[in-house]
């Protein structure tokens, strides 16, 4: 009898492992891929409205993020994580958060910062406390304030080189009336994305289509976007009701700045946001409040509020998680029983 036969007689090699022995099939790769798919309408809008500049920034940021991820993992002696697509998502999100005219080398600096400093320093995907793309945007904004707030007149709105939020803030600061009226035509332009702004934030409609896809795929839940956007709407409605002359109507605040991109894609980044439904509602409300405070406080120099609002709330995520743990099945009943004793 040779050994090979003996092996057959002993039966097949069986795999042992801890239960459960079946799996839903969900994977981090698929989640990240879904985010990429959901961003495609926004990418298309960016290319349509900002043309070659958008293409240049997207290619630069994605390539930089992928390369930085690969190099960091190698330097740290860790496994290659390009396959989880998280660096691809970060690259895309970063590009969509940049103004069209930003020099290429600054975009590269942003990509390196996002992956190396905001993500891999902490240990990589899952360990980063702040959204890497937003952290990089904040880094660029502080380091290169000029280029990060220059809105080229090459955009369709040739009359002004500021964003709508910027124009409004300047006007109200100077005590002037609103610089434009939110009539039907302008609202439609804003909805489609025909205005100054970061290349991926202007088209509310494209972003909402992507968000619906993420909801359908159950990558995100409704809690954060609804709480975030809802809070902004209520806050803006109250301001407008109290002082219509020195404030903008609700739909202006919903359609401008990074609100849709932030609420649907950045504030829903699972790594840096709370895990429970209640926690997500708190997170969303917090983002909404901070956004409106930053946007409307007249002493503030900066007209946008979304990125910093999300970053600040990212810092509160561990605290919110702690405060919103689920009620454990039978815990209240056990406490009652203890009390009776």
């Amino acid at each position: 009898m040779n050994t090979e036969q003996q092996n057959t007689a002993a039966g097949p090699e069986l795999v042992v492992g801890v239960s459960p022995h079946i799996h839903s099939g969900a994977s981090v790769e698929r989640i990240m891929l879904d985010v990429v798919i959901a961003l495609l309408p926004a990418v298309a809008a960016a290319l349509y409205f900002f043309g070659l500049n958008a293409a240049r920034l997207i290619v630069t940021c994605v390539a930089t993020c992928l390369a930085t991820e690969w190099i960091c993992r190698r330097l740290m002696g860790r496994n290659n994580t390009l396959g989880d697509f998280s660096a691809l998502v970060t690259g895309l999100l970063l590009a969509l958060n940049l103004p069209p005219g930003l020099p290429t080398w600054m975009a590269i600096a942003g990509g390196v910062f996002a992956i190396a400093v905001a993500k891999q320093v902490f240990g990589g995907l899952g360990y980063n406390p702040f959204n890497p793309a937003l952290a990089a945007r904040a880094f660029l904004l502080i380091s290169f304030t000029g280029p990060m707030t220059t809105w080229s007149a090459s955009c369709i709105d040739a009359t002004s080189t500021a964003t709508p939020l910027g124009m409004v803030k300047e006007a109200f600061k100077a005590g002037a009336p609103a610089p434009f009226a939110m009539d039907g035509g302008l609202t439609l332009d804003f909805l489609l994305g025909n205005m100054n702004g970061c290349i991926g934030e202007t088209s509310a409609i494209a972003l909402l289509i992507g968000a619906l896809y993420l909801l359908y795929r159950r990558v995100i839940t409704w809690h954060i976007p609804v709480a975030f956007i809802g809070t902004v709407a209520i806050y803006a409605a109250i301001l407008h009701a109290v002082n219509p002359a020195a404030s903008m109507p609700v739909h202006f605040h919903l359609l401008t700045g990074g609100l849709m991109l932030g609420a649907c894609f950045m504030a829903t980044d699972m790594v840096t946001t709370p895990t429970t439904a209640r926690g997500r509602l708190i997170f969303g409300v917090g983002c909404g409040l901070l956004t409106m405070v930053l946007r409307t406080v007249k002493t503030g120099a900066y007209p946008e509020g979304v990125s910093f609002a999300i970053l600040i709330m990212n810092a509160f995520t561990p605290l919110i998680n702690r405060a919103t743990r689920h009620r454990i099945f039978g815990a209240a009943e056990a406490a009652k029983r203890e009390a009776r004793k």
Partner: protein, 452 residues
């Protein structure tokens, strides 16, 4: 009699594909008597039974071969007539080893009288005598844990039981053993439930069954018409783990078992379908628990079958009777896919708690890499207990066992819902088990220290 959707629904849970169609319509088949049975003395929770036969002894079918040793233990009987060939250590389907009594069976032995006196007039009997019968017959919870049934049916005087729940959820994918028992022997199962109700002096019998088992529900409905007393059928939404005792009590009655407590704390006793059938058989026919229904299925077995097989049948015999395993067999699971045990070999014998044997092909056992938690919260959503599996797993990983204990890891009953949904494929159940094992060990050591 009342038929209604279950009025409540526990939080969390998952919807795995039920994978039951391969065997759902197959009637239970009696397994031809194997030449050899390996009957373990530890088929239940608690102390193993003590063998009361010696090698070389002739035994008759149903003869007591190992006696319960202590209150939380259970008798073990010979499933068939034969000769004791050996008494030795053998692996159990739950991955432990225990003393087993090996019987060379005698297929020609006459059937003989049942070992215990049948009590067809159980309604006229004292509950005490019926309870003794349940204990004599070695009946244990056949849904998985194997808790001795006579202990469950002896609640202390200050815990009156008003509701008996028949757990017909069978929420584990692939399994049909309970389902078939209900379809084919609903009247017997229901009579078993009534015996249990009689023993406990409970007023209400609730049958809980998932809404994907229409045939079984119809059989129950027909059988229940002839059943006196307050009887209810509750149709549960199909959702894993509806079959978990505490979740089911909540779904059916809205009562919440206190953390660390037992069903009797809220006046309930939950019994599994196979257990109720065994109670009927023991009381009405005088037969001890020596055989059960078991589903053999999966894509790596040639002929998926629902067997009614003697306890102690080796899984190798069971698979051979089911047309044999296919070449692509890669994983063997005793029990269901969510909470069952992966076995290293077919040379393990089935026990009183073996409801299924799954043979998974290589395609279903692909290797995977587990990643860092991405905080997606799906496990938090899935946990039927409201635990935070993400935090518990991270605490266990960091060896912060105290933190895991403070966050109630000991309440986890390892249903696996968290690991099923985890996109990072984290070994969450493994982490829970490790933390629980360390804590149990610590508590034992602390108790020991107190004594000395």
């Amino acid at each position: 009699m009342k038929v209604s959707p279950a009025p409540f629904l526990f939080r969390g849970g998952i919807h795995p594909p039920d994978s039951k169609t391969a065997t759902a319509a197959l009637p239970l088949k009696d397994l031809p008597l194997p030449a050899r049975l390996e009957v373990s003395t530890s088929q239940h929770l608690g102390a193993p039974a003590a063998p009361c036969v010696a090698v070389g002894d002739r035994v008759t079918a149903g003869q007591l071969i190992a006696k319960a040793s202590g209150f939380i233990s259970a008798n073990v009987h010979a499933p068939a007539a034969g000769t004791i060939a050996a008494i030795r250590e053998a692996p159990t389907p739950t991955g432990r080893t225990a003393t087993a009594i090996i019987i060379e069976t005698d297929a020609d032995a006459p059937a003989g009288e049942p070992p215990y006196k049948p009590i067809p007039d159980w309604r006229e009997q004292e509950p005490r005598s019926l309870l003794d019968r349940v204990a004599e017959a070695g009946i244990v919870g056949m849904g998985g844990a194997g808790f001795p049934t006579h202990v469950k049916l002896s609640p202390p005087g200050d815990k009156p039981i008003d509701t008996v729940i028949l757990n017909g959820a069978e929420c584990e994918p692939f399994l049909n053993s309970d389902n078939r028992l209900l379809i084919e022997r609903a009247a017997q199962v229901l009579e078993g439930c009534q015996i249990i109700r009689h023993i406990l002096g409970a007023a209400t019998l609730c049958v809980a069954i998932e809404d994907n088992k229409r045939e079984a529900a119809a059989a129950l409905f027909a059988a229940m018409k002839a059943t006196p007393g307050d009887n209810q059928i509750h149709i549960l939404k199909t959702r894993y783990p509806q079959g978990s005792e505490k979740q089911q009590i909540y779904s059916v009655t809205g009562r919440t078992v206190p953390m660390g407590g037992l069903p009797m704390d809220v006046g309930c006793v939950v019994e599994n379908v196979a257990t109720a059938y065994a109670v009927w058989d023991a009381v009405v026919n005088g037969r001890p628990l020596t055989a059960r229904a078991i589903t053999v299925t999966g894509d790596a077995v040639n002929t998926p079958t629902n067997w009614f097989a003697p306890v102690g049948t080796s899984f190798a015999d069971l698979v051979a009777a089911s047309g044999g395993a296919r070449d692509n067999l890669a994983k063997l699971i005793a029990g269901g896919p969510m909470m069952g045990f992966a076995l290293p070999s077919l040379e393990v014998a089935m026990s009183k708690t073996s409801s299924g044997l799954l043979l998974f092909p290589r395609e279903c056992v692909r290797p995977y890499r587990s990643m860092a938690c991405i905080n997606c919260g799906r496990c938090v959503e899935a946990c039927p207990l409201g635990l935070m599996p993400n935090e518990l797993s991270q605490a266990a990983e960091a060896d912060d066992i105290d933190e895991a204990e403070n966050r109630h890891v000991m309440d986890c009953f390892e249903c696996g819902a968290c690991a099923y949904v985890c996109p990072a494929r984290r070994p969450l159940v493994q982490h829970m088990r490790r933390a629980k094992a360390v804590i149990t060990q610590r508590r034992r050591a602390a108790a020991q220290q107190k004594k000395t």
